[in-house]
């Protein structure tokens, strides 16, 4: 069943797994990657079809419970603020349906305990992350402009910023009027032909699949290159669902047992094992990898596996304007953003902060479902809103809390009989206050932009597309799962590098940081290769 021992086994071919596979394989490391999902064929992308809005509610739904791909596992949501969980299980992971809003964390994001007395500090800081952000921006192809006074100085981005569109101009004018900071948002979108990918042609509604391949989803960035790199490329095995990480008698990781596409049990052995299965998938694999030595799950001597789930405080605030706004086109990674309220302000009744990023308005079906009542008033409502809206994406920091967590769900099993997951989540007082302030500022901005009315979605149920913190890095083995190099405290040749690694989540979309962590971890594995065998 098992083939020869490989150098590195990576579980999960998503944002982090793809970056890591590329980084190791270009150093001629022999890498095998097990991914429970498959490649997404072009025909599956909603945006290749006129009825894309309907497909986005069916086979492309970001909820695994709705679309029910063979690669999906059941996810249930509990707690005072039960999360609407959105993940994709495929080559490219959740990036295949993401928007490409691509931020670096701020230096303060790595030091929230020292600066604000909340959460935990990261075991590494911005300066250590900066080189990996740069590599990642080059490899993903990130568009934007260096020079934002709200960020440390940095080298130029590889691609120019995306066009603003009328909604972007409205936001800039409003920020200028209010005296707020603004800057073109960094977006993982090829605004020019880049690295073999064509330029974005502004079809809009990016998360519904980018037929162009201009949106930097990891299947078209890292994986395209990782499969071609030295030593015949990475051995990427799709439809391969990892059941458990296996151990040698001495306690070192041996490899993994997985079900192949035919449902047969297979084994892979490797000198180093990396789990990069995402904020839910990683604790799921670890908690399911029980043994006499690890009865509560692997890597879990701290009890922190699955704990400290963070999702950000998020919402959309939508302004309706008298003038038409060409809402049918433009990127959805937020043309322009403001970080005016990103850092802790002692005048607030909460700590930490948020960003506001502007996008176009909603498409007809989504809009109808949101605003158009049935009956005689239906068409008038559509006329008032369609092509007259701009959408402000609002994202703020939530803090780690061990009560917010992921557990195995033995009542709901996947196609292989493995348990699904239950999430438990509630906003704390800080998040609640931050959320209220964020919505207040969003309304202020849209008012200043001239909106005739503003609506918002509220912050609960939380939008669950940033699922972080469930196997966090840290210096203390009693309160963290891995060390600063993403090496599991309990198992010397086992690493965890993905969204679950983030000790805190900043107040911005996290993928850029997740991938920088993964690239840094790959380099550490390379540097430790002598010790790791």
């Amino acid at each position: 069943m098992a083939d020869e021992e490989r150098d590195v086994l990576i579980v999960g071919a998503g944002a982090a797994g793809g970056a890591m596979a590329w980084s190791l394989s270009r150093r001629k490391v022999d890498v095998v990657c097990l991914e429970q999902g498959d490649w997404v064929p072009p025909a599956m992308l909603p945006k290749n079809h006129l009825d894309w809005e309907v497909r986005a509610r069916r086979s492309w739904s970001p909820s695994p419970n709705i679309r029910q791909w063979p690669s999906d596992y059941p996810v249930a949501s509990y707690g005072d603020d039960p999360i609407s969980v959105f993940i994709y299980n495929a080559v490219g992971g959740s990036t295949i349906g993401y928007a490409g809003n691509f931020w670096r964390f701020a230096p303060s994001d790595f030091r929230v305990r020292s600066l604000d007395g909340v959460g935990v500090d990261w075991p590494i800081g911005y300066e250590e992350m900066a080189p990996y952000y740069t590599i990642n921006e080059r490899e993903m192809g990130v568009a934007g402009l260096a020079g934002d006074p709200w960020s440390p100085s940095r080298e130029p981005l590889p691609l120019p910023p995306a066009p603003l569109g009328p909604h972007g101009r409205l936001m800039i004018d409003a920020c200028e009027r209010l005296g707020w900071q603004w800057w073109p948002t960094e977006q993982a979108i090829a605004t020019r032909p880049y690295d073999g990918r064509p330029a974005c042609d502004l079809k809009g509604f990016c998360p519904f699949g980018c037929p162009q391949g201009a949106l930097a989803t990891v299947d078209v960035t890292y994986w395209r290159k990782a499969l071609k790199s030295a030593r015949n490329g990475v051995d990427l095995r799709t439809n391969a669902r990892v059941r458990e990480i296996t151990l040698h008698p001495d306690g070192r990781a041996k490899g993994a047992l997985y079900y192949d596409g035919e449902g047969r049990l297979q084994e892979v052995r490797a000198k180093v094992v990396v789990v990069a299965a995402g904020g839910l998938g990683t604790p799921r694999v670890l908690l399911h990898s029980t043994s006499a030595r690890h009865p509560d799950g692997l890597a879990n001597s701290s009890g922190m596996v699955g704990k400290n789930l963070m999702v950000h405080v998020q919402t959309f605030a939508i302004g309706r304007f008298a003038q038409p706004l060409q809402g049918w086109q433009g990127t959805w990674g937020g043309a322009v953003s403001t970080r005016q309220f990103y850092e802790t302000d002692p005048a607030n009744d909460f700590v930490r902060g948020f960003v506001l990023s502007i996008n176009p308005g909603w498409s007809p079906l989504n809009l109808a479902l949101q605003v158009a009542p049935w009956g005689a008033e239906h068409h008038a409502a559509m006329d008032a809103h369609l092509n007259h809206e701009a959408t402000l994406f609002c994202c703020g920091e939530d803090l780690p809390d061990s009560r917010n967590r992921v557990e195995l769900d033995w009542d709901s099993l996947d196609a292989h009989g493995l348990p699904g997951v239950k999430t438990f989540y509630a906003f704390d007082d800080n998040s609640t206050k931050l959320g209220a302030a964020m919505i207040g500022r969003a309304r202020e901005l849209l008012d200043a932009a001239g909106a005739v009315s503003v609506r918002d979605f509220g912050v609960s149920p939380p939008l669950g597309w940033h699922l972080m913190g469930t196997a966090r890095m840290g210096d203390d083995p009693a309160t963290s799962v891995t060390d600063a190099d993403n090496r599991v405290h309990d198992v010397p040749n086992l690493f965890i590098a993905d969204s679950s690694s983030l000790p805190t989540g900043g107040g911005v979309n996290p993928t850029s940081t997740i991938q920088a962590v993964a690239l840094r971890c790959a380099e550490r594995i390379w540097e430790m290769r002598g010790e790791l065998g």
Binding site: W150, K203, L386
Partner: protein, 192 residues
């Protein structure tokens, strides 16, 4: 990202819930839009009621067709054909609408006037433990707003260029002069 999941009635999984969540049930039921088709689950009499129902949800207005004209009733029927657990929900709902119509106005739903139809549907919507009303409404909206005929009228009447989402478009690049004030601001990020 179909953002309507955040509407009030959206329900995430909770323990002890017994009614079928149609939103999850239809996840694997994709029905092509704009295709001529008849009814397979709903019989002729109920089909008449369902047609009238969808058109009461989205009535005709000017060039905009009523929902039944773009096949919304048949679309709903085809969807529940693919999701057998929802067939009973739909059939019961159609019967309930006709029963309420006969109690309230003494007529079958399909032949009564618009004001009466609205009153009947509001009464049904207010007492709908199985979520049939939002199911029919959401599916009607889907059939309507993905239909080429509707999208063409919308483009003429609202300027919404639906084909750009498929074929692409152009926008002016960023004018960096706009950044003049921002470029003057001294470094403002929090030092650590």
């Amino acid at each position: 990202m179909a953002y309507d999941w955040r509407k009030e009635e959206y329900e995430v999984t909770r323990p002890g819930r017994t009614r079928i969540d149609y939103r999850q049930e239809i996840g694997r039921a994709h029905v092509p839009i704009g295709v001529e088709r008849g009814f397979t689950v709903v019989d002729a009499e109920r089909a008449e009621t369902l047609r009238a129902w969808v058109s009461a949800l989205i009535p005709a207005a000017g060039e905009r067709p009523a929902a039944e004209e773009v096949g919304a009733a048949e679309y709903i029927d085809a969807t529940v054909f693919l999701t057998p657990r929802l067939r009973g929900v739909l059939l019961d709902a159609v019967d309930a609408v006709d029963r309420i119509a006969s109690e309230m106005v003494g007529e079958r739903f399909a032949v009564t006037g618009p004001a009466e139809q609205e009153a009947v549907l509001r009464a049904f919507e207010a007492n709908d433990p199985l979520d049939a009303f939002p199911m029919v409404r959401d599916l009607t909206y889907e059939a309507y707003y993905a239909h080429p005929r509707v999208l063409e009228v919308l483009e003429r009447e609202t300027g919404w260029r639906y084909e750009i989402a498929i074929s692409g478009g152009e926008l002016e690049p960023l004018d960096e002069h706009l950044l003049a004030r921002m470029r003057e601001v001294p470094a403002r990020y929090r030092k650590v």
